[in-house]
Symmetry: C2
Subunit: 479 residues, 2 copies
C-alpha cells in the first residue's frame, strides 16, 4: 500500500524533490541507482543550480538519496524487500484480566539500566537534545524568575510559557491564547486531568487500537471501561465504527492520538479530523486529543489537529516537550476548551502548581526561536532513523513480517507470524540487554501477542544494526 | 489554657532557659522586666558564665527576652492581653453545598499580585529561603545528572534524594530506607495519590476539623465523603470521637496533619500518635499522615510522627520541601508502607516521573548538611514572627478574640465574635491589598464563619504591623 507524500509543493526545489521522490517510490529509480548530476538536471529541467542543489539536499536530509564522495548522488539503499503494512485492527471482543502492570513496570525499570538498548520506550536519546543550550537557559531562568524559581507558579502555569504555547499553536492552525492553556506535569498528566474532569468510574472511553499502554493503564486505573476502536495504521480511527458506537450511545469520551499515533504511527487526514470533531460535537461527546508527536513530522509541513476544527470548546488538546526537548523537565500542557475551570480545580487540588524553573526554560526556548531550529534537526534525524531501522527489520526479520511506514513520531509497529509470542521474545531479548515493547501491552484484550513496537529514538549505528539482527535471529531461532 | 514547653531538658543551659521561660509564662517575670545580669545569675545558680549566656541566647532566639544596648536583658513585650485559646471544634452536622472553589481560586490568584500582603497562604517569604545556595546547587546538578536533567527520573524518583529522605527520617524516629519512598509533585500530590490508592467515590475520609482547604477540596473532588472530627487546637484529633467513629465502622481512611496542623497549629502528643496508629491498625483503617510542617518546630527537638510507631505498613507518610526550601521546585514524597505498589502504579499512570533537576538539587542540599543549617535559621524567624504577629492581634483586634498558640508551622487560627463574618472581611481587606483566609474555607459544613487563618510566613516589620492594625480596625468598624 502506497501513501501520498505529505509535501506541500510550494517551493520550486520541493516540486523537484517531490518528482524524484515519486520516481524512487515507484521504483523507476531503484536503490543504488546513480542520479543525474546537478548540472545535467539543470539543463534537463531548465531550473538553476541552486534549486537542484536544494532539492538534492532535501532528499538527502530525508535519507532518500545519499552522496558518495567524488562520485555523486545515489538512491539510498532502502529496504531491499518492501514489507507489507499491517491491516486495520479489528479489536478482539473477549477481555483478558491479566495484569500488565508488572510488564510495564519492568520496561520502565529497563530505562534506568545503561547497559540496556532501549527499543521499548519512546524516549529521545540525549544526542538528540540541545542540552548545552538548555543549561544556559536554566541559569538565565534563575535570574528572571521571582525567587529564582523557588516561588510557586500561578496554578494555571507560567504566563510567558502559556503565551509561547499559544503562539506556537499557529503552526497547526490553532488560534489559542494564553488563557486557554494550563500547564501540567508532562502530556500524560494533562490527559489524566482531562479524563478525571470528564468521567466517573464505569464510564466508557473510546481509543484507537492498538493504543499507548500508558493511556490504557491510566483509564483502567480510573475505573473506566475502554472501547478499543478499529483503526487503520495509516489514517487512524475508522470513522464508520466510531459513528456506530456514537449512535449506540456507548461512549462518554473519546481519546485520540491524532498525529503519528503511538504505536502505529497513523495520522488522521485533515478531513477525518474535521469529521470527527463535528461528529463528537453532534453527539455531545468530548474529545481528548493527544498531539505529543505532532511536531515530529517527516514531511515539510506540520499536520493540523482536531483542535484546529473545534469551535465550541469540545476538544481538550494535550501536548508536552517530553518527546522533543526534555522528558525530565516534565513540562506539558492542556488547552481544555470549555472544561478549563474543571482542570484548574483538579490541578489546584492534586499538585497546586508546575515546577517553576523548567517551565521558564521552555518558555525562553520557544520565545527566542531555538525550539524551531532544534526541531528541524531532530526531525531529520528521526526520519533518517526510521528508514534505517525499518530497512534493518526488512533485512533481518523472517518472511511474513509486516511493518508500518510512519511519516513522523518515534515508532515502528511490527506484526510477526501468528505463532510468535512477543512477550516471550521480550524475555529472551532482555537476556541480551535489548528491551522491546510487546504488542500485548497496547491492548486490554487478547490480541497483538504477535506484534511489537520498536522505538527509533536511539541514534543509528552498527551496534544498533547488530541488535536488530539479533532480534531477527531470536525470532527465527526460537519460534 | 497553658501549654507545657516542648523543651527536652537535656542540656544545662536548656534547663536554665526552661526555668526562666516558666517564670515568664507564669508572669512572675512580666513584659518589660529587667532580668538579672549574667554574672549575678552565675553566682545565684552556681553555673558558669557560658551556660547562662547560652540560656539567655536561647530565650532571645525565641523572642521571649530581648537585649537593650548598654542596659542588659529584658522580658520581651509579649501580648499585653493574653488571648484565650479557641475551644475544641465540634463540627456542625448540617452540610452546606456552597462552592468554595471560587473563593479558593481568588486567594491563589492573590498570590500572583506583588501589591497584595499575603496573610492567607502558608508560603515562605523569599527572604526565608537559601536562594543563592540553591542556584549553585542547580548548576551543579546539570553536571551530575544524566543529560543534565533532561532525562526521565526513575518512576519511583531520584535515588540519591530517596536515600537522603530516608536518612532524614531518623530526625523523627523513623527507620525508612530508599525503597520505602516515592517522590511526588509536592506534598499534596503525595496525599492525592494516597487517597486515590485507598478509596473509591462514596467512601469516607476522617479529618481533623478545621482542616486545610486543599485537602477538603481534593477529597470532595475525588467524590469522597468527609467526616470532620472534633479536634483540640493544642493536641489535635479527639481520640474518643475517633474511637466511636471507628467502632461504628464509618471510616475508610483517616488523614491527619499530625504536627503543627494547618490551620490550628495543633500537634498530637507522642502518646496520642501511638494510640491512633494502634487503633487504626486494629480497625484495619489506613492512616495518611501529612507531616509537611514537622521540621518547623519552635522547641528544641523535632516532634515524632505516627509513622514512627507504624510496624505493619498501615501508615502512608507524606512530606515535601514546599514549606521549608522551595515551593516552586515541587519536590515532595510519600512513604506509603504496604501500599507502595499502588502508588508506583498511580504515579506511572498520572505523571510518569518527577522533575529530574529539582529533585537532584534537593538531594544535594540534604546530603551536604545545608538543609539542617537552613532550617535552624528558618525556625528562629518563624518563631519570632509567630510571637510578633500574635502580639499585634492581641493589641489591635477587638475584645472577645481568641487565638491559637502554635509551637511550630506557619499559622495562627483566630476566632472572632459570632456575628463577624470573615468571608465579608476578606472582601473588605482585599480592597486594602490584604489577603486573609476566611475560616469557612476550612470546612465543608456551616461553621467557622467567624474564624480566620493568618499565615506568619512574611517577615515582621512596621508595615506588617500596620496591616494587622488595619484588619483590627476593619473588624471593629464594620461589624
Amino acid at each position: 500500500m502506497q501513501r501520498k507524500p505529505l509535501v506541500k509543493e510550494t517551493f520550486l526545489y520541493l516540486q523537484v524533490a517531490a518528482k524524484i521522490e515519486k520516481q524512487i517510490k515507484d521504483e523507476v529509480l531503484k536503490a543504488g541507482d546513480k542520479l543525474p548530476s546537478v548540472r545535467m538536471l539543470c539543463r534537463e529541467l531548465g531550473y538553476n543550480m541552486s534549486t537542484i542543489t536544494q532539492a538534492y539536499y532535501e532528499l538527502e536530509s530525508r535519507s532518500l538519496i545519499e552522496t558518495r564522495p567524488r562520485s555523486g548522488y545515489y538512491v539510498s539503499l532502502l529496504p531491499a524487500r518492501r514489507l507489507d503494512l499491517p491491516a486495520s485492527s479489528k479489536p478482539a471482543v473477549t477481555k483478558n484480566i491479566d495484569d500488565l502492570d508488572y510488564l510495564i513496570g519492568r520496561i520502565h525499570e529497563d530505562s534506568g539500566r545503561p547497559e540496556v538498548t532501549m527499543l521499548s520506550l519512546g524516549v529521545p536519546h540525549i544526542s538528540l537534545l540541545p542540552v548545552a543550550k538548555l543549561n544556559k537557559a536554566l541559569v538565565q531562568a534563575t535570574r528572571t524568575l521571582p525567587g529564582s524559581g523557588t516561588a510557586y507558579d500561578p496554578v494555571q502555569g507560567n504566563e510567558k510559557l502559556r503565551k509561547e504555547i499559544a503562539r506556537w499553536s499557529l503552526s497547526w492552525g490553532g488560534t489559542l491564547n494564553e488563557k486557554d492553556i494550563l500547564t501540567t506535569t508532562g502530556c500524560i498528566n494533562a490527559v489524566a486531568y482531562c479524563l478525571m474532569a470528564l468521567t466517573q468510574p464505569g464510564d466508557t472511553v473510546a481509543l484507537e487500537s492498538p493504543a499507548y499502554f500508558g493511556i490504557l493503564q491510566l483509564a483502567k486505573g480510573l475505573g473506566l471501561k475502554v472501547l478499543e476502536m478499529p483503526s487503520n495504521p495509516d489514517t487512524g480511527i475508522e470513522l464508520d465504527a466510531l459513528k456506530t458506537s456514537l449512535v449506540q450511545n456507548q461512549i462518554k469520551v473519546c481519546l485520540l492520538v491524532s498525529n503519528f499515533n503511538n504505536p502505529c504511527g497513523s495520522s488522521m487526514p485533515a478531513a477525518h479530523k474535521k469529521e470527527v470533531v463535528n461528529l463528537l460535537e453532534y453527539h455531545n461527546v468530548p474529545l481528548i486529543e493527544d498531539d505529543i508527536y505532532g511536531d515530529l513530522y517527516f514531511g515539510t509541513s506540520r499536520p493540523t489537529t482536531c483542535k484546529a476544527f473545534d469551535e465550541s470548546g469540545n476538544v481538550l488538546y494535550c501536548n508536552s516537550v517530553s518527546k522533543t526537548l526534555a522528558p525530565g523537565y516534565r513540562v506539558g500542557w492542556a488547552a481544555p476548551g470549555k472544561y478549563m475551570d474543571k482542570l484548574l480545580s483538579l490541578k489546584r487540588n492534586h499538585s497546586i502548581s508546575s515546577t517553576s524553573i523548567t517551565s521558564e526554560v521552555v518558555a525562553e526556548f520557544l520565545k527566542n526561536g531555538r525550539y524551531e531550529n532544534h526541531l528541524r534537526k531532530m526531525r531529520q534525524t528521526l526520519h533518517h532513523n526510521s528508514i534505517k531501522y525499518s530497512s534493518a527489520v526488512a533485512r533481518y526479520f523472517p518472511a511474513g513480517t509486516k511493518i508500518t511506514q510512519p511519516q513522523g513520531g518515534y515508532f515502528l509497529w511490527i506484526e510477526l507470524e501468528k505463532e510468535i509470542n512477543t512477550a516471550r521474545l521480550y524475555d529472551q531479548a532482555r537476556k541480551y540487554n535489548i528491551s522491546i515493547a510487546p504488542g500485548r501491552m497496547f491492548t486490554l484484550r487478547e490480541q497483538f501477542d504477535n506484534c511489537l513496537r520498536l522505538s527509533f529514538g536511539l541514534p543509528w549505528n552498527e551496534e544498533l544494526e547488530k541488535k536488530i539482527k539479533l532480534l531477527g535471529t531470536l525470532i527465527t531461532a526460537t519460534f
